[in-house]
Symmetry: C2
Subunit: 705 residues, 2 copies
């Protein structure tokens, strides 16, 4: 499965030539070598993935510790200074669950077995017993009974629709389907609406391939017994140590204090299969749900209830303090060891984790090995490169968050960028999200990497498709390990992947077979992610003047402001301060771009005196630190851990990324309350954002008032 193409062959030739005839090999030659076919290997990536996914390896398990040892061994053998950084954090495991449906008073109860089924010839049948029973991490233990109400995707607007239909969920057990918002938000909203329990199922329409669909192992779709497990914790990091690192002996909140905090659910919940969901739906009467609430063509007609079906849900979980293990590998910078380019991916998986997250881990190991080979050839990075393999991401971004909290002061003053890859490959189609000063860099790098699905074009060409410029997503969501880096510290960050979503997500079927059959049969997408991810890191680590462009940032902010303007057009909110601050940022961004060009032309190339080295550092520090200025020590109102005022999660969907999250929330509140005071608070939040933008401008200009 070695990837060889004409383009790759040419790259090798050019690289060899460069090495032979340069007395000092320029960094760019190493960068070309890094993405050349001579160093990359879909074969070794697939072997990494196969090894990592042999057994289920949830956080805190010995299998995950074995996986950590494997990562450590690859890091070490690739000449990285490597270590395991442990934390002791709260995790939950299921002890017992039971679910019974009484379709009507007259009918016998249905006892669900809650098992995901293996299939004939399943190579993982033996170890499938090691898969945890299906559950929601951090679900409340409890025993509840109630009429079933079907609530569609469980969003705030779905409950509004139900209210219009005269349906109240108070005292009921809601049945919601996965697919639109974060499951922790589904449970939290149900709780706020008065439900006593929540069941969340994977509808065939979204996950099963629809009418007449076939499923894994015949097709990529989720089998009828497949269940999406996952956490329902609405916070970030170990819930027992909010804002500080979970070292072995440290202060911890009591259960009571955690319950008060509001990030842990107070009602029991359970994820269930599509088949079980459909069985329950057949027992729900009442009014017929809207068309967009219905299932696939051959599904029964969905009604909203309540009842007559009554569900008895019992869940008992245990919360334990477990050791988790981040694996850290470092190549120290030759010239600027105290400037960090950080690459991160998590290792823990709900089951086998072939897509989520170990496709990313395999790519990370590939990068480690390629960097090891570059080192053998004499390359040393200018700045320090740090490879991080996080633990317990699935429970609430715990491994990365504890590490960031522990090292916050150093990261705040020394981290150039954080580059995240969670699942590297879900399927075809490249996606990237970033803080906007990285947009151009990512696009430029994508122009250097071959499209894994069509070797006659670049990844950029595939990505951009028919539009003039590819869409770059933003990092306000709480759905992967960039959260602490962006939203807590304010570090320029990116997140990349192939494909967006996949049906067997967080189920027992996310295994190597699925990946080889449906996700990335030739592992070329994995190779492309490793190339792109590593190339961006190399550029950030080696380029004398940081390739950050804040004009992109200013344009993005302008866009958000215009959206906001429409959103609040019928209010008296004054957006002038925000407008002015963005205009100033634009000017500053142009100015520093010109300064960079000037330095590049006049100073860097001919010689590098002591004075020039500080001059370069000075400009770089302004570029690096401007992102920090978008954070505010007070954080978002009522969610003070989130310090970033430009990007943060939606309050009603932790996986939803918001721009101006504080303003957004205040506007929603004001529209609900319609009071002068609530609108005044919107104005306050607008001022806060304007001030943050002004701070960023000042940092970019580098001039004290």
């Amino acid at each position: 499965m070695i990837q060889t193409t004409t383009a790759a062959f040419l790259a090798i030739l050019i690289t060899c030539f460069t090495f032979l005839y340069s007395p000092i090999t320029p960094k760019s030659s190493y960068h070309s070598l890094f993405i050349s076919g001579s160093l990359s290997s879909n074969n070794s990536i697939s072997r990494h993935l196969h090894t990592l996914t042999r057994r289920p390896h949830v956080a805190g398990s010995s299998a995950n510790s074995d996986a950590a040892a494997y990562v450590l061994s690859i890091f070490t053998s690739s000449n990285l200074q490597s270590r395991i950084t442990p934390y002791h954090v709260a995790l939950t495991y299921p002890v017992s669950r039971s679910l019974t449906l009484t379709p009507s008073p007259s009918s016998p109860p249905v006892h669900f077995n809650l098992q995901q089924e293996t299939y004939p010839g399943d190579p993982y049948a033996d170890v499938s017993a090691e898969v945890l029973p299906t559950f929601h991490a951090f679900a409340k233990s409890g025993d509840v009974t109630g009429d079933v109400v079907y609530v569609n995707y469980g969003r705030v607007e779905d409950y509004k629709t139900l209210k219009k239909m005269g349906v109240n969920v108070s005292g009921a057990i809601v049945l919601a389907r996965y697919g639109e918002i974060y499951r922790g938000s589904i449970v939290q909203i149900a709780q706020e609406e008065g439900a006593v329990g929540a069941l969340v199922y994977s509808d065939r329409k979204n996950y099963g391939g629809g009418r007449g669909g076939r499923w894994f192992p015949e097709d990529k779709w989720l089998p009828p017994s497949g269940v999406q497990v996952g956490t329902v914790y609405n916070g970030v990091g170990d819930p027992t140590t909010p804002g500080w690192a979970s070292s072995e002996e440290c202060e911890r909140l009591s259960d009571e204090e955690m319950d008060k905090g509001g990030d842990l659910p107070l009602i029991p919940s359970l994820p269930i299969s599509g088949a079980d969901g459909e069985t329950i739906l057949r027992a729900v009467g009442g009014r017929v749900a809207d068309d967009d609430w219905q299932g696939s063509g051959d599904a029964p007609t969905y009604r909203v209830g309540p009842g007559p079906g009554v569900v008895h849900l019992s869940y008992n979980g245990k919360q334990v303090l477990e050791k988790i293990e981040n694996v850290i590998g470092v190549i120290e910078g030759e010239e600027e060891p105290d400037r960090f380019v950080i690459l991160g991916n998590h290792r823990d998986a709900w089951t086998f984790g072939a897509v989520d997250p170990n496709s990313g881990t395999a790519a990370l190991l590939e990068i480690a090995q390629r960097l090891g080979k570059l080192q053998e050839k004499g390359w040393k990075p200018r700045r320090t490169i740090i490879l991080c393999n996080w633990d317990a991401e699935e429970y609430g971004l715990i491994g990365s968050t504890e590490w960031v909290e522990e090292n916050r002061d150093m990261l705040a003053s020394k981290a150039i960028a954080y580059l995240n890859v969670d699942s590297a490959v879900h399927g075809p189609g490249f996606w990237a999200s970033a803080t906007p000063q990285l947009d151009e860099l990512i696009k430029k790098a994508a122009q250097q990497v071959e499209d894994p699905d069509n070797s006659s074009q670049t990844l950029y060409q595939a990505w951009v498709g028919s539009s003039s410029s590819p869409i770059v997503g933003r990092l306000g969501s709480g759905n992967s390990d960039f959260a602490a880096f962006v939203q807590y510290i304010g570090i320029p960050s990116a997140d990349m992947t192939f494909g967006k979503g996949y049906p067997v997500y967080h189920s027992m079927y996310d295994d190597y077979v699925w990946m080889e059959k449906f996700g990335d049969p030739f592992f070329h997408r994995h190779v492309a992610v490793a190339s792109l991810w590593g190339l961006i890191a190399l550029w950030l680590a080696d380029t004398e003047l940081l390739p950050f462009d804040y004009t992109s940032y200013a344009l993005e902010l302008e866009k958000y402001m215009k959206n906001l303007e429409v959103e609040i057009s019928d209010s008296n909110i004054n957006l002038a301060p925000l407008f002015k601050s963005i205009e100033e940022l634009k000017i500053a961004a142009t100015l520093i771009n010109n300064q960079r060009k000037e330095i590049e032309e006049n100073y860097v190339r001919p010689s590098m005196s002591k004075k020039n080295c500080f001059k370069v550092r000075e400009v770089n520090d302004r570029l690096m630190m401007a992102e920090r200025a978008f954070t505010d020590q007070d954080g978002l109102f009522g969610r003070s851990w989130y310090k970033h005022l430009i990007y943060g999660p939606s309050t009603n969907d932790v996986y939803g990324s918001k721009s101006f999250p504080g303003v957004d929330e205040a506007v929603a509140r004001a529209k609900r309350l319609k009071t002068a005071e609530s609108w005044k608070f919107v104005q306050h939040e607008v001022w806060r954002v304007a001030r943050a933008v002004r701070h960023a401008t000042k940092v970019i200009n580098g001039e004290l008032t």
Copy 2:
């Protein structure tokens, strides 16, 4: 009045020699020249002071704007890049006041004229009309009548004593004397105790020279009509813009929001003279106060009341938005322009300000001129030196705080140190306060400067006196402009002065005559402050490796911990985390000291390659940033602007400096409430400090986990 001594003459000789025979003049020669007699001049300092104090120049007045123009002109003519940085802030001025005493129901009322008297031959008699009527800045306007209760210094413990005597101040007007705590705290405590108004007088015992004393202009003491005016605001910075800069058009709190904030008094108050205080005390009956509550020998016997004297207090102030002007002068660093050594002093004065603050301003101008001369001789600092002349300090550290809030991101990552001098000279005797990593540096500098009161010894010898090492104070207080630098950002800082307190403080008599007669007749103390202050700045600006010593910090922390141990010996609080964190800091401090030595010996001297310049910067950044790690984004409980967990003001006395202020407050609360929960909160605060110390250790070590 030119200062010439043998030592100074020798210094000149050595300096001249050095300049003649060195191809590149070493920085140390410039430093010697800086403190030599050839550059320093008591004559020019006295002229600066005379010019600055010609008229009263309260913040917001045109006289203070004239003073700003004078400072700017000296900065500019000394070859500093100079500018005025304005803010628009809330200030208050008195509109009308009246105070009437009815000694008993049968006696006629006494109307106080509330005037400070001039004396025959007073050169400032003409301009004395420009002195604001005596008042408390930010006092609540109101008209109140009540029995008088004498409350000694108005401390919490004084009210405890009163309660033991059966005296309640509810509904009363309290009469407190100045001298132990901040006047804003006197008023706040009175308000909390239920008083409807507060009068604060200067007792002869403390300010008038006691029995049979003579007063200004015959002696240094406050005349009987003298009044100490001042602010009673309990916050820091413009109260309308908490946490952000008061630019001309910016968000501002409403009066209602400010009242809710709790930092502005809600009862009227007035400062009064010793004579008026004594008149009122004669009308106070009830039980005789304790001995330590009494006045000087010839004073009447003080009784606590309540009544029979009844006081009618009417105060009407106006709050206005006024432009204030910070004057900023910069000498850009030649090698590290983005590292700042900042010197600050305020300019605004309640009256003439000869001691407070313009003795410091005169010293600052002297430094500007000496640095101008060094520049003429070819010196350029390695790092940027910034001279700041603050406005509106007297109202609540407003000019410095707004500037720090506006520039917080840059200061947080680029400021090496802040060196404050408020009043340079109150009288004899040197005092210094600092964050502990600067202790040794200050001592070393004091060994280079001549004792202004005895030319046969150094300032250090005079300072150390009979003890083995001089006592260095700490910077938790809110009584001068270092507050925002230390307590909000966490910048290593120092504060220096000659003399501690002086009787005519904040009265009309703080003028040039007083200074020339009693404060510093030969202006040699002013010269000494300029030499020491400037020398420390030069060392910090020019020394390749920063002379910060964190072993001093660790020893100080250990001392505080031992005090705390005694304080809570009868509780179950576990101090082990704190103990451990301090031990780790000790090790880190020793390690980095050794690293610095090693670099000095091996790298710096012979040559300075690109790699070495970053190595030096790396160590310096660790030394600079460690102080920041003592701050916490959440700040002190209920006082979140105060981010520093090691040094902060006492809640019951803003002028009182506390170590571990969060713990201190929690302990006081727990001892009062005696609940398990309140003690648990003490433990939480201990954990927070321990974590801050651990963060500092990590920054010093410079190693990510």
